[in-house]
């Protein structure tokens, strides 16, 4: 059986800069085209937003697309939903497509919630009878029951988004295309959204999911596509996320007043990839001052890569070490010794220098190091508290 979603060697070209859309510009461009013929390659001002990207998603599976801003994620979704058409390549989607790209796009502020549910339902391809049948469920899921006959312009932005998501969630699609909708609503609503997506997967819906919430991608998706105009990686989510985080390296500001470099080593001074909870590690940092700095703080942070959760953040005032003045061209080495008392997951280290007087960052190195913790006890959480259980039967 052909996969529900096929993206086959897709290229998409866009134009940069201001578009000329007055009739005055039409005649010269028509003449140009007649003289030179329709251009095939890249003209000036044009660029590839998506370059030669391929993937497939079978029924009942989810694909996560991650990448930095401007990597072509939203463009890919718009190609899937037929809003845009590829410049070359093919993009096929089988069955009914539910798109949660801009869930409230069809809402009109002057209409009531009830009127908008029917309008938005029709925009998403539901018949009136279908909307009518699911109307109560939609309103319940969104939790806007008391306001359903109020004009949408009186809604809070959260209510607006919840109602939009709720309509889409009741579409019963074959393919679901989701763009960063988890950022709406409160924690409880987000939890319901995630549960709903798992339910869709069990029902055999193919899902394409774009999010900056890497933990959600890791939880929901069977494969991950790392996109930066081109396909950087396609496959196992954990590996994909680590590829993505590594690709962000070099984020340190080389123009700043201070330059930091760092290396992560284990207790024997060797390189680190995968560790066990409690292993001793050292981040060896070198600080080079390019102008004189005074009274600064050296910070050491641990961040979980998948969701950017700040696990640890410690500040060491330079004055504690008697090095608070650093002249132009001066340098320091700093060894951060720590224990990886962490549960299973991907982590990154960060270090930065903070000027106390001006309250500004002098330099920020992230990631300063990357490592993964492997163990098989925990199911979630972040801190390894080395818990153990002792179990005895009660004799009766």
């Amino acid at each position: 059986m052909e996969p529900r979603v096929v993206f086959d060697k897709v290229w998409k070209k866009f134009r940069r800069g201001e578009r000329h859309d007055s009739l005055r510009d039409l005649v010269p461009s028509l003449v140009r085209r007649m003289v030179r013929g329709t251009p095939q390659g890249l003209q000036a001002e044009e660029f590839w937003a998506v370059e030669d990207v391929s993937f497939t998603v079978p029924a009942g599976q989810a694909l996560g697309i991650i990448g930095p801003n401007g990597a072509g994620k939203s463009t890919s979704l718009k190609l899937l939903t037929k809003i845009l058409r590829p410049t070359t390549g093919a993009c096929r989607v089988q069955g009914r497509v539910g798109a949660l790209i801009e869930v409230a796009a069809g809402f009109h502020p002057d209409l009531t919630g009830r009127e908008n549910v029917f309008l938005q339902g029709a925009i998403m391809g539901m018949s009136r009878a279908e909307v009518l049948e699911r109307f109560d469920d939609i309103v319940d899921f969104a939790g806007v029951g008391a306001f359903i006959d109020t004009q949408i312009k009186r809604y809070s932005s959260g209510m607006n988004a919840r109602l939009g998501f709720s309509i889409a969630a009741h579409l019963r699609p074959d393919v679901l295309i989701i763009d960063e909708v988890l950022s709406v609503g409160d924690m409880a609503f987000q939890q319901r959204c995630v549960e709903r997506m798992f339910e869709f997967k069990r029902q055999g819906v193919a899902i394409v999911f774009v999010s900056h919430n890497l933990q959600a991608v890791a939880d929901l998706c069977d494969q991950v596509l790392v996109l930066r105009r081109q396909r950087l990686f396609l496959g196992d989510p954990v590996q994909g996320i680590s590829t993505y985080v590594r690709s962000l390296e070099g984020a340190t500001d080389s123009q700043g007043p201070v330059h930091i470099t760092a290396a992560l080593v284990d207790a024997n001074g060797g390189p680190v990839e995968i560790v066990k909870p409690g292993d001793r590690l050292t981040l060896k940092a070198t600080i080079d001052a390019r102008s004189a700095v005074h009274d600064f703080v050296i910070a050491f942070r641990i961040v979980r890569s998948t969701d950017q959760l700040l696990v640890y953040d410690a500040h060491f005032p330079a004055s504690d070490f008697g090095v608070s003045n650093l002249s132009d061209g001066g340098g320091l080495t700093v060894d951060f010794d720590f224990r990886a008392n962490l549960t299973r997951g991907q982590y990154q280290l960060e270090t930065h220098l903070f000027d106390v007087e001006s309250q500004r960052h002098l330099a920020w190195l992230r990631p300063a190091g990357l490592f993964a913790v492997e163990e098989h006890r925990t199911w979630g959480g972040v801190a390894d508290v080395a818990a153990s259980a002792s179990v005895t039967r009660i004799e009766r």
Partner: protein, 268 residues
């Protein structure tokens, strides 16, 4: 992907319209609801403008420069203005229908024809409301249609097809070139006086009259007067040519629109 074929595209055009027929109804309902909510007079605007214009032109062509039109002049003018108004307001509405719904065009996929089509549908509702006033005026002047009234649906069909064809072209043109909207406003006024709306254009004659004979709106409006006011059959050669031209124009403009609609999201 196979190269798009003409037959494939035509099949897709119709399949999509059938698939999204409820959306057309919902979008039409949306626009009607909005007008009803946002303005005090609601559909009253649909009859107010042609009535006011009828009064103005009646003063001109009854008192200042009397004109023999074969039927009471206010009836002649209202019938023309009422039919013209359907075209004019449909086009005014559709010229902005794509550019006024930017968020829908760039964020949700559905056949974009829905926008100009629903604009025409909204104006069709106004047109029906206006017909009540026309019936009132006919009763006042004691003018009754004959058996040829059975041809009215055919006249209406040609009128709607022609309006939809121009609506598609204007909506699309304004998306690519924003000055179309302003140019169109000017052209619309000229077009009205080039059509037998408030006076019969065959009075113009000469070379200008021959050029104006190419305007398909004149035979359409004359056909309304024939079936409603004069008890005549509308199927003059000019009307039949206009009907054929409307069908051809609709096919061409719809097909062009369909081919272009994939570029709407990035050009809007």
């Amino acid at each position: 992907m196979s190269e798009p074929t003409m037959a494939g595209d035509v099949a897709e055009m119709f399949r999509e319209q059938i698939e999204y027929r409820e959306l057309l109804a919902q979008m039409t309902k949306r626009d009607l609801l909005l007008r009803y909510k946002q303005t005090i007079m609601g559909v009253g605007w649909a009859v107010f403008m042609p009535l006011l214009n009828t009064a103005v032109f009646s003063v001109i062509f009854v008192r200042v420069a009397p004109l023999d039109t074969g039927v009471p002049y206010p009836l002649f003018a209202f019938c023309g203005l009422w039919a013209w108004n359907f075209l004019a307001s449909s086009l005014r509405f559709s010229v902005n229908s794509l550019t006024g719904n930017t968020s829908l065009v760039t964020k949700v996929y559905f056949p974009r024809e829905i926008f100009p089509f629903s604009s025409v549908a909204v104006c069709l509702v106004d047109f029906a409301v206006g017909s009540i006033v026309l019936i009132g005026l006919m009763a006042y002047y004691g003018v009754w249609p004959g058996v040829s009234i059975v041809a009215l649906p055919a006249v209406l069909l040609v009128h709607v097809l022609f309006t939809a064809a121009v609506a598609l072209l204007l909506a699309m043109a304004n998306l690519f070139y924003r000055d179309v909207k302003y140019l169109f406003e000017v052209m619309l006024t000229v077009w009205m006086f080039a059509t037998s709306v408030v006076y019969p254009t065959d009075l113009i004659g000469g070379r200008l009259g021959a050029v104006l004979g190419l305007n398909p709106m004149t035979p359409i409006i004359d056909a309304y007067r024939a079936v409603l006011l004069r008890g005549e059959w509308p199927f003059t050669p000019a009307f039949i040519i206009a009907a054929g031209a409307s069908v051809v124009l609709l096919c061409v403009s719809w097909f062009t629109f369909h081919r272009a609609e994939y570029t709407f999201a990035e050009n809007i």
